[in-house]
């Protein structure tokens, strides 16, 4: 049979030499490698105590943004939902009433906004599609949960705190 690559090495089936039969030098060599690694820098971090920095392009859990005056930016245009390849985003829109101008930036707003984190693949298309700078992906993971219902993120989970009142 023709070899696929020229890197194939035939198995060495010669009888062992005296030095090889002793085994001790080979064991010492192996232990040497093990001991060397004891003094090298660890490849892992002890996670909950120590956290690694995220890369600047990391796409984590979504947040819904507010403007400087604390009004919700999202206007429920549905572009994030249509861009979402996993169909994780759903929303329902409502019209702003008089007296709600301090809550919502535009005439129309998302009364309900939900991201199903079980479906989300964190591709960042929603962030790219948003014409109102309303949705961003933060530098955190979605926390784990024992139950599926914990992964349905509504507006109260996603909205950032109001910059004026802090809540």
């Amino acid at each position: 049979m023709q070899a696929l690559t020229n890197r194939a090495k035939p198995v060495d089936r010669r009888p062992m030499t005296f030095m090889e039969k002793l085994y001790v030098p080979a064991i010492a060599k192996g232990m040497g490698i093990t001991l060397k690694h004891l003094f090298q820098r660890k490849a892992t971090v002890s996670f909950p105590e120590k956290k690694r920095d995220f890369s600047p392009v990391f796409r984590g859990l979504h947040v819904l943004n507010r403007d400087e005056e604390g009004r919700e930016r999202c206007t429920a245009c549905g572009l994030c939902a249509v861009a979402c390849p996993a169909e994780a985003i759903t929303m329902e829109a409502a019209e702003r009433k008089t007296g709600e101008e301090n809550l919502y930036r535009e005439e129309k707003y998302a009364a309900r906004y939900e991201i199903n984190m079980l479906r989300c693949i964190f591709c960042g298309f929603c962030e790219e599609a948003c014409p109102k700078d309303a949705i961003y992906m933060s530098e955190t993971f979605a926390p784990s949960n024992y139950q599926r219902k914990g992964f349905i993120y509504g507006k109260d989970d996603l909205l950032i705190p109001d910059p004026k009142t802090g809540k």
């Binding site: 245009c77 759903t90 019209e95």
Partner: protein
């Protein structure tokens, strides 16, 4: 003395077509079809006297006729210029026309608020399509855009004057379809606006057709306002027996599940209504049982409305039913137990106008 009618031979973008005398260049181009049809924002084949206002259908006439082969001195509006025998017209083959159209689109968008994320017309808007295909990517306008005092023209139709491009289609519709026209253009020049004189509401039968003829989102359906985006709805052809003799009863229902969110007339490839429908069909029949559903409507696959509508797909057989001896798989998580969106106990399509904050909260458990 039945004399054979002489047909005029016209050449549009080097494609010959024979049309009757009196046909406009636009209609001759539509007879050929395809890419060479000039776009039209104000011309509407079903409305007498429409056209000549938006200037998007400008074409170059490079040869006037066989008798007088001189070219026309400047670009002409194809919806208003009738053909002559031996006329030669350039539309997409003329860079001058493309450049002029780009300018026209920039002018149409000068005062347009570009609030497409809020606008209900987004996704089926002629101005959106036009600016995608022919416009520049940015405006050079630096001044404040024109605004108007908001006026209420009734509980069925919503007017957004800032989005209007003054095509006059709705005025012709009201003139030619309804018994009494209540709205028109007030003011002149930059200040002209669609309005009703001494605020009245539009409540003639057939007035709902102004929503369909409006090429932008200036006139939208208030019963559908903000309820859903058009591309999340599924358009189906449907008909009902309408008591009104003028109404054909043939419509498109925009559905989601069993809910009928919106009823519109059927539109052809140029975005023009095939048959006008009455207001009862449009606003009052919002239940699937009022209609006889014919089947899904064909949507151009380049339209955003066709997203998620897969045609000719073959569904693989679900092996689970056989493996489980006919038992249903155990549902581990019913999304409605947690999700607040699309709650089965709230039918958004049943609310009269747009939903407000209390529509969601009062039945909150």
């Amino acid at each position: 003395m039945a004399e054979e009618k002489k047909l005029f031979k016209v050449k549009i973008d080097n494609i010959s077509v024979e049309v009757e005398p009196g046909t406009t260049i636009l209609n001759a181009a539509r007879k050929i079809g395809g890419d060479i049809v000039p776009p039209a924002m104000c011309y509407y084949s079903k409305l007498q006297g429409s056209g000549g206002k938006c200037r998007t259908c400008l074409v170059k006439v490079s040869k006037g006729s066989d008798a007088d082969p001189r070219p026309m001195p400047k670009l002409v509006a194809s919806c208003r210029t009738t053909v002559m025998d031996g006329m030669e017209v350039a539309n997409i083959t003329s860079p001058e026309v493309q450049e002029a159209r780009k300018g026209v689109v920039e002018f149409l968008l000068l005062n347009h608020p570009l609030d497409c994320p809020v606008c209900d017309q987004a996704g089926e808007c002629d101005l959106q399509n036009l600016s995608y295909e022919h416009g520049a990517e940015a405006t050079r306008y630096e001044f404040k855009r024109r605004t108007f005092d908001k006026i209420d023209i009734g509980d069925k139709i919503q007017l957004h004057m800032t989005r209007c491009i003054l095509c006059y289609r709705c005025v012709f519709t009201a003139d030619q379809l309804t018994e009494k026209r209540e709205h028109g253009i007030l003011g002149r020049g930059d200040a002209s606006e669609i309005s009703t004189y001494i605020h009245q509401s539009l409540d003639n039968n057939f007035i709902g057709n102004v929503i369909d003829v409006c090429p932008v989102g200036a006139l939208t359906d208030k019963t559908f306002r903000f309820k859903n985006r058009v591309w999340f709805l599924k358009p189906v052809d449907a008909h009902r027996h309408c008591e009104d003799p003028k109404c054909c009863g043939k419509t498109v229902l925009w559905m989601r599940g069993d809910e009928v969110f919106r009823v519109t007339a059927r539109k052809d490839q140029y975005g023009e209504v095939e048959n006008f429908i009455c207001d009862t069909c449009r606003f009052d029949k919002k239940e699937a049982k009022d209609w006889i559903i014919e089947g899904p409507r064909k949507i151009d696959r380049h339209s955003v409305i066709s997203q998620g509508h897969y045609v000719n797909t073959v569904k693989p057989k679900d092996p689970l039913v056989e493996v489980l001896d006919g038992r249903q798989p155990k549902l581990l998580f019913d999304i409605h137990t947690t999700s607040q969106v699309n709650r089965p106990d709230i039918d958004l399509s049943k609310i009269d106008g747009p939903a407000h904050s209390d529509d969601f909260n009062h039945r909150n458990s």
